[in-house]
Amino acid sequence: MADETVYPDGVAPDPRTSGPGRLLVAVYALFALAAGSRAAVQLGTKFDEAPTAYLLSALAATVYLVATVALARPGPRWRRIAVLTCSFELLGVLAVGTVSLFDRGAFPDATVWSVYGRGYGFIPLVLPMIGLYWLRRTPPPR
């Protein structure tokens, strides 16, 4: 698979940010867009209804965005940021998912993390796991 890859400049890039890593970036970008638009609509039109839930929505969107950039950029610093943001997302989807199961009133309007991301085909739950697995598989060069 890798030997078929064509690099315009003839230099093999950081394995973390090439090949399947670019696919991961694409899915993260999609969720940054989805979560970001949703948060913007919620904050812009009905912030007073559930400020905490909507601010959490905005936080989730920001973390998706940072994770997208961190996964796309080579280098150990971006790698660390990618590990942090993917871990944060996994904790976020688990925490919000669990709370939304037991206390529906806490999250009256759907966020990407409600019921473990059911509204988005559970991808918000699976995505950080795949992200962390990918980061483990591509350790920083020594």
Partner: protein, 121 residues
């Protein structure tokens, strides 16, 4: 919203998604014919956006008009950005970026149809 237009758009998206998935499975690269199919799909996305705006201005509004329009606008960027991202590094897995972009536009269009069904006929 025009249901037939959106149905054709969803079909075009799924065709592009299946096409790129097959190319990736065969370890082949994106062809010009595929790019033409994607360009046609993008034109359908733009037509759908115009139709959606015209109808909202005309007074036909789904319950969540802003979300509806956000989907219509968001769809416009997904295929072009996906193709650019996919072609910046030509590899087997980056071909699948277009598969994901196609599926995303198909799902978003289906959601728009769902939202539109709240409009009283």
């Amino acid at each position: 919203m025009r249901n037939d237009l959106s149905a054709v758009l969803i079909g075009a998206c799924l065709l592009g998604a299946i096409w790129t998935a097959v190319l990736a499975a065969l370890d082949r690269r994106v062809s010009n014919r595929l790019l033409i199919e994607l360009a046609v799909t993008e034109v359908l996305v733009l037509v759908q956006l115009v139709v959606a705006i015209v109808e909202v201005i005309g007074g036909d509004r789904p319950d969540s008009t802003l979300t509806f329009l956000a989907y219509a606008v968001g769809e416009v960027v997904i295929l072009p950005v996906g193709v650019l991202w996919s072609q910046a590094e030509k590899s087997r897995s980056s071909t699948l970026v277009i598969t994901i972009a196609g599926l995303a536009v198909a799902v978003m269009t289906a959601r728009m149809l769902q939202m539109w069904s709240s409009v009283g006929g």
